[in-house]
Symmetry: C2
Subunit: 336 residues, 2 copies
C-alpha cells in the first residue's frame, strides 16, 4: 500500500530540511522472534505445523532473520521439543538467516547432531548477561562460567559453518541490580567479537532503556566495535520499544528485532519475581509500519505484516499487542 505512495510529508521536509533524519538508512533488516522469544513466553505449546506455517510466511514476507526454535532442554521448555521437526519442515528461502538459540552444551551437541544429519541452520544465538546477578538468575551460572561454555559452543558453531550471534543481555540495565557499567557491556560485546561472533545483539532484556540512552549507546558501540553488525533488540516492558528503536535507527543501526504481536520474554513458568509487567518484544507489525511510513524500507509489505499479525492471533486464539493489526496501515488516499 504505502510502498508506492510518495511520502506525504515530502513537502514538509523540503521546506525545513531533514534535520536529524538526514542520515536515515534507505533500508533495514528485520529479525522476527515470534517462533522462539515469542512462543517461549506462552503457557501453551503451539502445534508444529502452525509454527512452520508462520515461519514460512515470515520468510515469504521478507524478514531477513527468523528465530526458528531453541535448543533448550525440552523437559524445561516443552515448547521447543519439536526443534528438529520445525527446522526440517521449514521451506528454506535463500538469503534468509534461520536462527536458533542454544542455551547450553547439551543443546549445542543436539544441534550439531542434527546438522550432521543434514538439518539446515544459518545462525546460532548464544546469551550472556552483562549483569552478574542477572546471569546467575537466568542461567544458574556466573558470567565467567557462562563465557567459558559459550566460547566452547561458539567454536562448535563456527566449525559447523554457522554464523554466530552473541547476545548481551541486560545491555541497558539489570532488573535486579539496576544500572550496568557501560564498560562491562562493551567488553562483553568485544569478547563475543574476539571469539568469532558475526553479530552482536544488544538486548534490552526487561525494557529498561530510554531513547536518549539508546541513541548514545549505539553511537558509543559503533565507535567501540567498528564494522560489527549490531542487532537492535528492545523489549517493550515500559512502552518505550518503538521510541528506542527509532533512537537506535537515528544512531545508525540497521538490523532490528521484533516479535509479531509483541509476545516474548521470560519463559512461561520461569518468570522471576523481579520482572513484573509486560515482558514482550517490540511489536513487529507496528515497527515495520512505522519504518515503512518513514520511508525506510524493511522489505516487508505493510498489508502483509498486518495479515501476519492477524494470523498469529488466530493461531494463538487471543488478541495480541499489534496495534496496526487492529486498525490497518495508515491511509494516504481517500477510502474507496
Amino acid at each position: 500500500m504505502s510502498t508506492e505512495t510518495p511520502l506525504p510529508y515530502a513537502l514538509l521536509e523540503s521546506a525545513v530540511g531533514p534535520g536529524i533524519f538526514a542520515a536515515l538508512p534507505a533500508k533495514v533488516e528485520i529479525g522476527e522472534c515470534w517462533a522462539r522469544d515469542g512462543l517461549q513466553s506462552l503457557d501453551t505449546v503451539v502445534a508444529t505445523d502452525k509454527k512452520i506455517q508462520m515461519i514460512d510466511r515470515f520468510s515469504e514476507a521478507g524478514f531477513a532473520h527468523i528465530e526458528v526454535t531453541s535448543f533448550a532442554n525440552p523437559k524445561y521448555l516443552p515448547q521447543f521439543a519439536d526443534a528438529r521437526e520445525v527446522l526440517a519442515g521449514t521451506k528454506r528461502k535463500p538469503g534468509v538467516g534461520y536462527r536458533v538459540v542454544v542455551p547450553n552444551l547439551k543443546g549445542m551437541e543436539r544441534l550439531v547432531t542434527m546438522l550432521d544429519e543434514g538439518i539446515k541452520v544459518d545462525e546460532a544465538l548464544f546469551v550472556c548477561s552483562a549483569s552478574e546477578a542477572h546471569n546467575l538468575e537466568n542461567t544458574n551460572r556466573t558470567v565467567a562460567e557462562q563465557k567459558k561454555e559459550v566460547a566452547q559452543m561458539m567454536d562448535m558453531a563456527k566449525k559447523a559453518g554457522l554464523k554466530v550471534v552473541g547476545s548481551v543481555l541486560t545491555s541497558f540495565g539489570c532488573p535486579i541490580t539496576g544500572d550496568v557499567p557501560i564498560e562491562v557491556v562493551r567488553d562483553l560485546g568485544r569478547w563475543y567479537v574476539e571469539h568469532g561472533a558475526d553479530y552482536v545483539q544488544w538486548g534490552d532484556t526487561t525494557g529498561m532503556a530510554n531513547p536518549r540512552q539508546a541513541y548514545a549507546f549505539y553511537r558509543y558501540m559503533f565507535e567501540a566495535l567498528p564494522g560489527v553488525p549490531f542487532i537492535v533488540h528492545f523489549h517493550d516492558t515500559r512502552g518505550t520499544g518503538m521510541a528506542n528503536n527509532l533512537a537506535a535507527l537515528l544512531a545508525g543501526a540497521t538490523i532490528f528485532d521484533g516479535s509479531v504481536g509483541g509476545i516474548g520474554g521470560q519463559p512461561a513458568g520461569y518468570r522471576p519475581k523481579y520482572h513484573q509487567g509486560y515482558t514482550g518484544n517490540t511489536v513487529t507489525e507496528d515497527l515495520v509500519c512505522m519504518l515503512e511510513e518513514m520511508g525506510v524500507r524493511t522489505g516487508i509489505g505493510q498489508d502483509e505484516v498486518v495479515e501476519i499479525g492477524r494470523q498469529a492471533e488466530k493461531i494463538l486464539g487471543q488478541t495480541l499487542r499489534g496495534q496496526v493489526t487492529q486498525c490497518g496501515p495508515v491511509l494516504h488516499k481517500p477510502r474507496s
Copy 2:
C-alpha cells in the same frame, strides 16, 4: 526516584557527545486528558467524586494542564452531565491550567453562565478538523460553518478572560480521505492564532503520524507560526505515540498531552466505522517516565504517576494500557 539519580548514561554521552539530543529542553509541561478525552471514550459514567479525586491528584502531582470536562450536550455525552459539579468540586491549584472542551454555542452559553456564577475555568478548547470530510463526520458541519461558530465561541471565551486552545484535528492525516495538505493544516492553525488563540493543539486524531513526519511537521509549524505555544497531542492507534512524542520533542516542542492509562478518542457510542482499532491517547505514565529517564523534567514524579495509573485502574475496574503502571519505573540501584 529517578529525579535524584544521575543519568546512568552520562558517561556514554560524554564519550560520544549528545548528538541529536543536544537541544533537549530541561523541562516540559504535561497536559492530562484523562478526565475528558479519556472518559468520553468509556461506556460507563464515572462518579463525580471519583473524577474530582483524580483531577486533584493530577494537580498535586504536577500536571501543568488538566482537561477537566466537556460542555457537550449531556443528552449525547452523559459522562459530562456533571461538568458544573466537577469544576466546582475541584481543589484549584495555582498555576495549573484547568481546561474544558466546548463543542458548540449551546455548550459555550452554558459555560458562560457558570463562569458568571463564579465557577472557575482557565482554558477553553475548541476543535475544527483540517479535513473537510472528518469535520463533517465529527460535527455535522462544514469546516466553514465550524470556523464561524468557533470564532464566535473564541470571542466569548476571551471576553470571559479564558485562555483559548485552538485544536486542529486530523493534523497528520484523515482516516476518511488520507493525507491532508500541510498548507490547509497550517492555515487552520494560523486562523486560530489570528482569532486570539493562546495555544494551538495539533491533534493526531486517529494516530496516523510517523516520527519523521512529526519531526518535520513541528519544525515547519514553529517556522510558520513563530512564538505560538503548541500542544503536542498524539493518539496511539498505531503504537507510534511515544516515538512521535519523542520526535516532536526533538523538534523543539515543550507541551505534551497524555491520558492516564491511554484511554481516549471517539466518544463511546459515536465511534465511526472508519476508526478501527485503538483510539486512545499516548499513555501519560509511560510518557512521563520516558521523559524523566531522559533527563527532561516534567514536574511529575515517576513513582507518583505510576500510583496515579493504578488508581485510575481501580476506579475504572480494569487494567489500562499504562506499561510502567504494571512494572514500575526503571531500577537504577540494586533492589533492596
